[in-house]
């Protein structure tokens, strides 16, 4: 009996690891935008929702090959990130910080409602079903494995971009000192636009991985939006490495907590853990 339990527990832990990779990717774009522009996109998960619809319509309705549709979706969400910055964030950049948070909350309402209006409330599925991978007694969905791999590759690619390119260096410099960079000949407005498009692109990448696992509906953002913010805050807002580690911690709470109790309790434990950590380290674990 105990051996059976152990193998299922191991399966839960490994599934938690896979989920952690996906959550790490989810938090990446949000953290990048916050670190550079100092604005929390409350509507980040809704951008991902838009990306999921883009994949669905391009692939299922217009019969584009799945990979092409995905690349196009990443481009579309990157464009949305750019638009969000130009038309919504820029006018409130000098307003109170909380107004910047709230204005993206308005965008959340808008995107959710506009998606309901345009696409209806039916659940949509891209209809790609991948076989599950067996490892001894355990089985894992291969879409989760792919998501894990792509998420890690995405994290690595972003890291290299920020470390090894001129543009990446400029982005990191801006996030460290907003006041002095204009004097060094870096145009912050341009960096902000690029960062927003990049953040949108990462949301689009997350969307491509999520459509493989989940049905699409207008309020899907609410089901993983909150957890994405909490991961970013747990790791220290703007701290990408912190967010990366926090994603795996959170995923273990959800997976193992959900294994011992019901799935919702896994989330409850994770959220209560988050609140407790905030009291202990108000700027996040690595903030």
């Amino acid at each position: 009996m105990s051996e059976v339990l152990d193998i299922y527990l191991l399966e839960a832990v490994l599934n938690g690891l896979l989920l952690g990779g996906l959550l790490a990717l989810l938090s990446l774009g949000l953290n990048l935008v916050f670190g550079v522009i100092d604005v929390v996109w409350i509507c980040y998960a809704e951008l991902i929702m838009c990306g999921m619809y883009a994949v669905y319509y391009l692939h299922v309705q217009f019969h584009w090959p799945l990979l092409v549709a995905m690349v196009a979706a990443i481009g579309i969400v990157a464009l949305l990130g750019w638009i969000l910055h130009q038309f919504v964030i820029r006018p409130v950049l000098s307003a109170e910080p909380i107004n910047q948070l709230l204005v993206t909350g308005g965008v959340l309402f808008f995107l959710q409602a506009a998606a309901t209006l345009a696409f209806g409330i039916e659940f949509k599925n891209v209809g790609v079903s991948l076989p599950s991978v067996r490892l001894g007694e355990m089985s894992f969905s291969s879409s989760r494995l792919i998501a894990f791999g792509v998420a890690l590759a995405g994290v690595l690619a972003l890291w290299l971009f920020l470390r090894r390119t001129y543009l990446g260096t400029a982005i990191r410099a801006i996030s460290q000192d907003r006041a002095v960079m204009p004097l060094m000949g870096v145009d912050p407005a341009r960096i902000f636009r690029i960062t927003s498009a990049l953040g949108g692109g990462l949301a689009g990448l997350a969307a491509c991985l999520l459509v493989l696992q989940y049905d699409i509906h207008p309020s899907i953002g609410l089901s993983f939006g909150p957890i994405t913010f909490l991961i970013c805050v747990l790791g220290g807002l703007g701290n990408m490495m912190g967010g990366f580690v926090a994603a795996f911690i959170f995923a273990q709470f959800i997976a193992v907590g959900g294994f011992f109790f019901a799935l919702e309790w896994g989330y409850v434990i994770a959220f209560v853990f988050f609140i407790a950590v905030m009291f202990w380290r108000p700027r996040g674990l690595f903030g």
């Binding site: 204005v103 909350g105 308005g106 209006l117 309020s219 609410l222 807002l237």
Partner: protein, 309 residues
């Protein structure tokens, strides 16, 4: 009045009261995304105790209020003690409202989960009201009740304004360190407001459940309802007494007006328009509808530079 206008009036007053409760904190710079938790505690404690133990909602309400106050202290005290403000405060409270929603869903054997729950009916035969069960068949009675509670909410708003003084309030919201240095006990002041606001929201949840005679986790807790409160207040105006009520009336009438104009052909048209308006409000009219209107009318008569109450 017919039943439909009565129903609308009740909802406007009830939500106006709940939004007013939220804005007690909001205008101090404490933007809470967690008020869904307090509303959910009120609604579910009362309905569950009534359904499972036959406990009168009056006693249930007392227990719910104690529970809400405890949660407010457990979350509020460390937040204020460790100076968790701004984004961080908003996101900690966001976690709280999700915890409330998930706990309600997870206890599905008792609460009915996402399907919601109905308080057992107490009106048998020709009875129109049961005061012990806090169930009233007539909408007129409900209108009187919510009107009284709404007035009570406005009175609390005024009392808070008077007791602390506008300057102390502004000092806390704008410059915490400076406020502390001139002798304002910041943690205590914030905690007191938070408890008052949580208790009032809890009462709102109780009334909502007893009026609708139906609760479900998404309607009374979680991120969606918490955001609804925040944005209702922003639309109406956070810094004027009637602003939250104007926000409630505005959102409700917008939804109903569009529904009457277009039928149910475009189910989310109202929220789409509402979302665009919210974005425009926050960018161009951060004081909200009532705040902006008052400024427009009062400006010529007032000496410049004086902030609005």
């Amino acid at each position: 009045m017919g039943n439909y206008p009565l129903h609308l009036a009740i909802l406007v007053l009830l939500w106006g009261y709940i939004y007013t409760s939220w804005s007690l904190m909001g205008r101090l710079g404490l933007v809470s995304f967690g008020h869904g938790a307090f509303m959910g505690i009120g609604a579910y404690t009362v309905v569950m105790l009534w359904n499972h133990f036959g406990l009168s909602p009056w006693i249930g309400a007392l227990l719910a209020l104690v529970f809400a106050a405890l949660v407010a202290i457990v979350i509020g005290y460390p937040c204020f003690r460790f100076r968790i403000v701004g984004h961080y405060f908003a996101l900690v409270t966001l976690a709280l409202s999700e915890v409330a929603r998930l706990v309600i869903v997870a206890l599905r054997d008792q609460t009915g989960g996402s399907l919601g729950a109905t308080p057992k009916g107490a009106l048998h035969g020709g009875e129109t009201m049961s005061i012990g069960a806090l169930q009233f068949g007539s909408k007129e009675v409900w209108l009187v009740i919510v009107f009284a509670v709404w007035l009570g909410g406005l009175w609390v708003w005024r009392a808070v304004d008077r007791s602390m003084g506008r300057l102390a309030l502004q000092a806390i919201s704008e410059e915490e360190e400076a406020a502390a240095s001139i002798g304002i006990h910041v943690t205590r002041a914030k905690l007191r407001i938070t408890i008052i606001s949580a208790l009032m929201t809890c009462v709102g949840g109780i009334l909502y459940a007893q009026y609708q005679l139906y609760v479900n986790p998404d309607a009374v807790s979680g991120i969606a309802i918490s955001l609804q409160m925040v944005f209702g207040v922003i639309a109406g105006g956070m810094f004027v007494m009637l602003g939250p009520t104007v926000g409630a009336a505005f959102t409700l009438l917008l939804a109903e007006g569009l529904r009457l104009a277009f039928g149910n052909k475009y189910p989310a048209l109202d929220t789409t328009i509402y979302g665009v308006m919210l974005v425009l409000f926050i960018i161009y009219m951060p004081k909200g509808i009532l705040g902006a209107a008052l400024e427009l009318f009062k400006l010529p008569r007032q000496p410049s530079g004086r902030p609005l109450q």
